[in-house]
């Protein structure tokens, strides 16, 4: 007796699996898609090879003067020669280790905060926030405890950009939260004050504010009294961004249901404790994307200090292109600038996504 056996399954047709199948399903599924795919490929072919050729294959990488560049492709020698200036500005070469030290301390100091299991995390974090700025000021500016003073007029490059952005972020977040709380306060005086502050700073462009701080302010101060230019710029950035943060945080506060406030009150928590322990943790978590968005904008906005003659990263590059020995290298300089700005902003946005995932406690829909 013969038993009936099924034939083994035939493999699926080769054109519907693997790379070929994927291509067929996604890129060439209809004549319209085929057309769009071909058009896309044509555009890529049009743009990518010349860019690669310019930036990599025909580019000049080594040398120390303009004559080392054939000018057929990019002349990265320019960026290489000026790299120190792009990073540190006119910070004295022999003292640049202090900038590096400040940067490493920031990274090493912040590392424990990223660990998930770490005892006394809050206490450590607050301590870090209290101690690090002093340490950074000592390292960067110096002038006491045995370090030579480096006036802020010599600061520059990426270091200055990061300093302005870091001070802006560290100052704007707490100030913004206070303003947001103040705007929702029951006390009319505080509310009016906060609303006025927020609306004033949101109503003027940052470039105007910086310009006023540098051109008009000195005229109103007594002669001989010069507020440090960098200090002026940093204050303006903090105030300006705090107004934006305040509105972002207010959005979060409004999203917290009234029940939460009432529950906190029912547990006997006063205003500050209920705000700090119940409301803010929930509200801030909700608005992480908005806050990071503001910070990314802030980071890029720092380049506006060009208007008051501070040599941040972008302006350092611009200054280098005015050197007759390197005229005509602005494309290389600006491409490099774009790359660095992108790296910073992209890592900020990745970090915020991580933060969102970790703090997600089931509100996601």
């Amino acid at each position: 007796m013969t038993t009936h056996t099924f034939k083994p399954d035939l493999p699926p047709p080769t054109i519907s699996i693997g790379a070929l199948g994927w291509l067929r399903a996604n890129l060439f599924s209809s004549w319209l898609n085929t057309l769009l795919t071909l058009l896309g490929l044509y555009l890529v072919w049009l743009v990518v090879p010349p860019v690669l050729e310019w930036a990599i294959f025909k580019a000049d990488w080594i040398g120390d003067s303009r004559s080392d560049c054939s000018r057929e492709g990019a002349c990265w020698v320019f960026v290489q020669v000026r790299f120190g200036q792009f990073m540190y500005g006119f910070y004295p070469t022999e003292l640049r280790w202090r900038v590096d030290a400040a940067a490493w301390l920031a990274i090493i100091g912040a590392a424990p905060l990223l660990l998930r299991q770490m005892p006394h995390k809050l206490r450590y974090g607050l301590g870090y926030l209290a101690v690090y700025p002093l340490l950074a000021y000592w390292l960067l500016h110096g002038g006491f405890l045995g370090l030579q003073t480096v006036p802020t007029s010599q600061w520059g490059g990426l270091m200055l950009t990061v300093v302005i952005a870091a001070v802006g972020i560290a100052g704007a977040l707490p100030l913004g939260i206070l303003l947001a709380l103040g705007r929702r306060s029951d006390m009319p005086a505080i509310r009016v004050l906060c609303v006025t502050f927020i609306e004033f700073w949101r109503g003027v462009p940052l470039i105007t504010v910086l310009f006023m701080s540098s051109v008009m302010l000195p005229l109103f101060l007594p002669e001989g009294m010069n507020l440090d230019k960098l200090l002026r710029a940093m204050l303006m950035v903090v105030f300006f961004e705090a107004a934006y943060i305040a509105e972002v945080v207010r959005g979060g506060l409004q999203a917290i249901p009234k029940g939460q406030y009432e529950a906190a009150a029912a547990m006997g928590l006063g205003y500050w404790r209920s705000t700090l322990l119940v409301i803010l943790p929930q509200a801030l978590k909700l608005v992480i994307p908005g806050i990071v968005n503001t910070f990314i904008a802030l980071f890029k906005d720092t380049s506006l200090v060009i208007i008051i003659g501070l040599f941040d990263f972008l302006n350092s590059i611009k200054r280098a292109t005015a050197d007759p020995a390197w005229l005509g290298m602005s494309t290389e300089g600006y491409v490099f600038a774009a790359l660095v700005y992108w790296m910073f902003c992209f890592s900020m946005s990745r970090y915020s996504m991580r933060l969102e995932r970790r703090l997600d406690t089931g509100h996601k829909r």
């Binding site: 008051i308 005015a322 007759p324 005229l327």
Partner: protein
């Protein structure tokens, strides 16, 4: 390009005058001597005039004027601190005392001299608006530019000068306005415009930016007067004189053949009474200016005479290779002329 008109600057200057009055005569020199350096306002980056090299050293004609003043006052050209200023903040910086002098390719005009509370001490560079064209165009004079497409930078008097010139000569043109000099250079290169117009000193810098600089030529016509010079606060005549005579000393040195190489020998052994007076071997002319006896020696030794400075920064010895032209001495076909030291 240099005369960015800013009503704000005028306004702020007016406010300043009302608020704190005029500077006291002699106050600036005292303050400078007390702090031990000259605070000098320079440009935030202009090829040949003030720029930073790879070592972070400031160079350029404008920078050398600052250094010369320091050499005259302190006998040490390195006793300068620089404040890079944007075009908009330069006058405020001078008014408010943030800088002691401004050496920032600023065009000397009546309104600035009279209404802004500052004084121009002289002319370090006679500039003027010119044209850069592709040789292929076969144009040898700006008068042949009828119907041309012209690249200009926005927001500067360049536009007004251009329109005046073309209207006066009954020529037609199409302007294309750009924000930065890099953009206009690229535009000329790609053929979007036939002519690029800017101050002549900058046209030479623009030309270097092009892939084939030799294919382009600067036309002989100069359609505007842009005398660039240092400026000081109004009301302090003593300081004004020092800055003014620093430049005159450099011009006189060139005229008399005194260079940074031979100045010390000449100071000791010259027979020429003019040279002896300039270099302090005869008379007490430094004292009149409240400067050391060897002020001019120090200027020439450490910074150079006018010709050396010109060559090194914008002339034959630099990348820009600008000809002396108007900036040659008066006895050499130019208009640079300094009163004598006596």
């Amino acid at each position: 390009m240099i005369r960015v008109k800013s009503t704000l600057a005028v306004l702020s200057a007016a406010t300043m005058l009302g608020l704190s009055g005029l500077a006291q005569a002699g106050a600036t020199l005292d303050a400078v001597q007390k702090k031990g350096f000259v605070q000098c306002g320079i440009s935030d980056g202009l090829p040949g005039f003030s720029f930073a090299d790879a070592k972070g050293q400031y160079l350029g004609i404008d920078v050398d004027v600052c250094r010369a003043v320091a050499a005259a006052v302190f006998g040490d050209a390195s006793k300068v601190k620089y404040s890079p200023l944007t075009a908009k903040e330069r006058f405020t910086a001078l008014q408010s005392g943030e800088v002691d002098m401004l050496s920032r390719n600023t065009t000397w005009t009546s309104s600035r001299d009279a209404a802004m509370g500052l004084n121009f001490t002289g002319v370090t560079y006679y500039d003027g608006q010119g044209f850069l064209v592709n040789k292929e165009l076969g144009v040898s004079s700006a008068k042949e530019l009828d119907g041309a497409t012209v690249c200009i930078q926005a927001g500067t008097t360049t536009e007004l000068n251009l329109s005046d010139y073309f209207r006066a000569n009954n020529l037609k043109y199409t302007p294309i306005t750009y924000d930065t000099s890099d953009e206009s250079a690229k535009s000329l290169e790609s053929g979007r415009c036939d002519v690029l117009t800017s101050d002549q000193s900058q046209l030479y810098a623009q030309r270097i930016k092009l892939a084939k600089p030799d294919d382009y030529v600067v036309l002989p016509e100069v359609i505007s007067k842009e005398p660039l010079g240092p400026a000081v606060r109004q009301g302090d005549e003593e300081w004004f004189d020092i800055v003014r005579w620093t430049l005159f000393a450099m011009l006189n040195a060139e005229e008399l053949g005194v260079t940074s190489a031979n100045v010390e020998d000449m100071a000791k052994s010259t027979k020429n009474p003019d040279v002896a007076r300039l270099l302090g071997a005869e008379g007490e002319y430094g004292k009149d200016l409240k400067l050391p006896k060897d002020w001019a020696v120090q200027i020439v030794k450490q910074v150079g005479n006018y010709g050396e400075i010109f060559d090194r920064n914008v002339g034959a010895g630099s990348e820009l290779k600008i000809e002396r032209g108007l900036n040659a001495l008066w006895n050499d076909g130019g208009v640079q002329y300094a009163p004598p030291v006596r």
